[in-house]
């Protein structure tokens, strides 16, 4: 029986790792596509050839052309840059700001903690995409404003996660030991608490990239994000809707690109989570 369980565990581990491996491979591929976009794309993503408009996928245009005769394949390749950039920049900002606030909050407790947690409550009082939508709508559509809008709504997840970990760590003996040795608070936060938060943060950040990409493409889809003629996936999808009936390939390929990218990051994040610590499962699930 024990042997059977062992085999099962190994198989499970392999299964999880395989998931992370598939996700990771797709992510690396996407990054390469984004970097080498100008080499890989067969056409100029902005070049309009009106005589070639609404072509179905063919040898010259693997994914067909859009209503202005632009190569959808090339536009998708360039679009990788925008989605990845938004995901990475947003998560870079939110993870560092959210983590800092979380450590400070959990470590200092008292009035600072109370204030920060109430601010978190207030931000989380706006459900889902609503706040991001309104901020983007007011600031006007641009890459920077999309980043601002999504960042402003995404940092509380990190603060809550990190605060929880910090609260449990600060009672531990090794922290008390450091304090007894007169280590400064900043030193303790940086050298003892932060390293213990890194693993869950990496998992949350990976899943958050997926989330940020959904938000960003959603905003462009509503016309409040990155604007045409920029080859961004969400705005390409929006632009394809009037031609949905006659040329569904205008929407099909950008939609699939978004889904595959989001799935890759979710695969990677899920796999990492199972590999690092299945216990943090719940925290992250709820914060989604």
């Amino acid at each position: 029986m024990k042997k059977l369980n062992d085999i099962r565990n190994i198989l499970k581990e392999a299964g999880n790792n395989r998931m992370a491996a598939i996700g990771g491979a797709i992510v690396i591929l996407l990054v390469l596509i984004a970097i080498l976009a100008s080499l890989l794309s067969p056409h100029d993503p902005f070049e309009q050839k009106l005589e070639n408009r609404l072509l179905n996928p063919c040898f010259e245009y693997p994914f067909g052309t859009d209503n202005l005769g632009r190569c959808i394949f090339s536009r998708l390749i360039f679009g990788t840059r925008y989605s990845l950039a938004i995901g990475v920049v947003v998560v870079g900002i939110t993870a560092s700001v959210g983590t800092t606030l979380g450590i400070v909050s959990g470590y200092s407790r008292g009035i600072i903690d109370e204030t920060l947690m109430r601010i978190v409550d207030i931000v989380l009082a706006f459900p889902g995409i609503i706040l991001a939508l309104v901020i983007a709508g007011i600031l006007g559509p641009s890459f920077l404003n999309v980043v601002i809008a999504i960042s402003l709504t995404h940092w509380p997840a990190y603060t809550r996660l990190v605060r929880g970990i910090t609260l449990s760590l600060r009672e531990k003996e090794f922290i008390e030991g450091a304090r007894a040795l007169r280590a400064s608070n900043i030193y303790i936060m940086r050298r003892h608490i932060l390293p213990n938060c890194i693993n869950p943060i990496i998992v949350l950040a990976t899943l958050d990239i997926a989330h940020a990409i959904i938000f960003a493409t959603g905003l462009s889809f509503l016309g409040l994000g990155i604007q045409p003629p920029t080859p961004e996936w969400g705005s390409m999808l929006k632009a394809g809707i009037p031609y949905f009936r006659i040329s569904p390939h205008l929407t099909f390929f950008p939609g699939t690109a978004i889904m595959v990218t989001v799935m890759a990051f979710n695969f990677l994040g899920d796999g990492l989570r199972d590999m690092i610590d299945p216990k943090i499962n719940e925290i992250i699930l709820v914060s989604e």
Binding site: A125, F126, I138, L237
Partner: protein, 312 residues
């Protein structure tokens, strides 16, 4: 128990005040002169400086920010959210007209999601690491990864344009509800399935389940009578949160299917730069969300004896 509830109520009160400040300042610090925005909405693009100044004085934009805020709060506390800049309809009235549509969509998609998620979650927990479990979890991961707008468009393409079964947009009979409800329901089911599975797994590892097994009870009784009740607690809480979330209007799905709910009202007002309406909608949505969360918390406290019997 009472202390817990009072504390929750106090916190909600605090959050609501915070929400009004955020909502107010978002609109206030929006780029551009609010007086000019309102003047444009009122008199058209052909403006004179006198008209802008007139709006500034009559709307009170010349007084300090905190006075403007207090004035606004005074109106809001009397349930007066003001008038739309574009149509000059009463904002609260406009929102309440949209409520039934949003409510219908929210409840039906929640039902769909629970009908999928609870059985799927239980089966994958009970049959952990089997083919069924892997299938359910892969489907859930796919569901989490499909953006709403893309799933909605795929469903329109399949059921409306190809099979001609359901209308692709509009509001009216049940046939209009099917596609938007499925779109929202399935994507929510994905998260709920994962939650149900992990919650069920937690419970199945508890000692009282081991005892039940040792007593020789059959699996069905153990799962349905002993495990399910406890495993459902977090799921029900989560469903409550999702309902609050949905009542705020499923912005994207309502937009795709031209469903006349609060979410669509919000998006349309953003397009029209009707900031008064945006402000009203956001405030309404956030307050509604805060109160559903409060109700969920209190219900949870009643359902969970660990909180119910707490003496503190």
């Amino acid at each position: 128990m009472l202390k817990y509830i009072l504390k929750r109520i106090f916190l909600v009160f605090f959050v609501v005040i915070g929400v009004t400040i955020v909502t107010f300042s978002t609109m206030h610090f929006a780029p551009g002169d609010p007086a000019e925005v309102i003047a444009v909405a009122r008199y058209g693009d052909d403006l004179t400086q006198e008209q802008i100044d007139w709006v500034r004085v009559t709307e009170g934009f010349d007084s300090p920010v905190y006075i403007q805020y207090l004035k606004w709060i005074k109106h809001v506390s009397r349930l007066d959210l003001g008038r739309s800049l574009v149509t000059s309809h009463d904002i609260l009235e406009e929102i309440t007209i949209r409520l039934p549509a949003t409510f219908k969509l929210a409840v039906s998609s929640l039902v769909i999601s629970l009908c999928i998620a609870i059985p799927a979650g239980i089966i994958s927990a009970v049959r952990k690491n089997t083919i069924i479990d892997h299938l359910c979890m892969s489907a859930a991961l796919l569901g989490v990864s499909i953006p709403n707008f893309w799933l909605g468009l795929l469903l329109i393409w399949l059921f409306s344009l190809t099979l001609h079964l359901f209308p692709s947009y509009g509001y009216g009979g049940c046939e209009h509800l099917v596609l938007p409800a499925i779109t929202l329901g399935t994507s929510m089911a994905a998260i709920t399935t994962r939650l149900t599975r992990s919650s069920m797994l937690d419970v199945l590892n508890q000692e009282y389940i081991v005892t039940a097994k040792a007593k020789g009870l059959d699996e069905k009784t153990i799962i349905l009578r002993h495990a399910l009740k406890n495993a459902m607690l977090p799921v029900i809480t989560f469903a409550g949160l999702q309902l609050g979330f949905l009542l705020g209007g499923a912005v994207i799905v309502e937009t795709i299917f031209a469903w006349p709910g609060i979410g669509k009202l919000l998006v349309d007002s953003i397009y029209a730069r009707d900031f008064a309406m945006v402000q009203g909608c956001v405030l309404f949505i956030a307050v509604l969300f805060a109160f559903t969360n409060l109700i969920v918390d209190i219900t949870y406290a009643f359902l969970d004896p660990r909180i119910r019997y707490e003496k503190t």
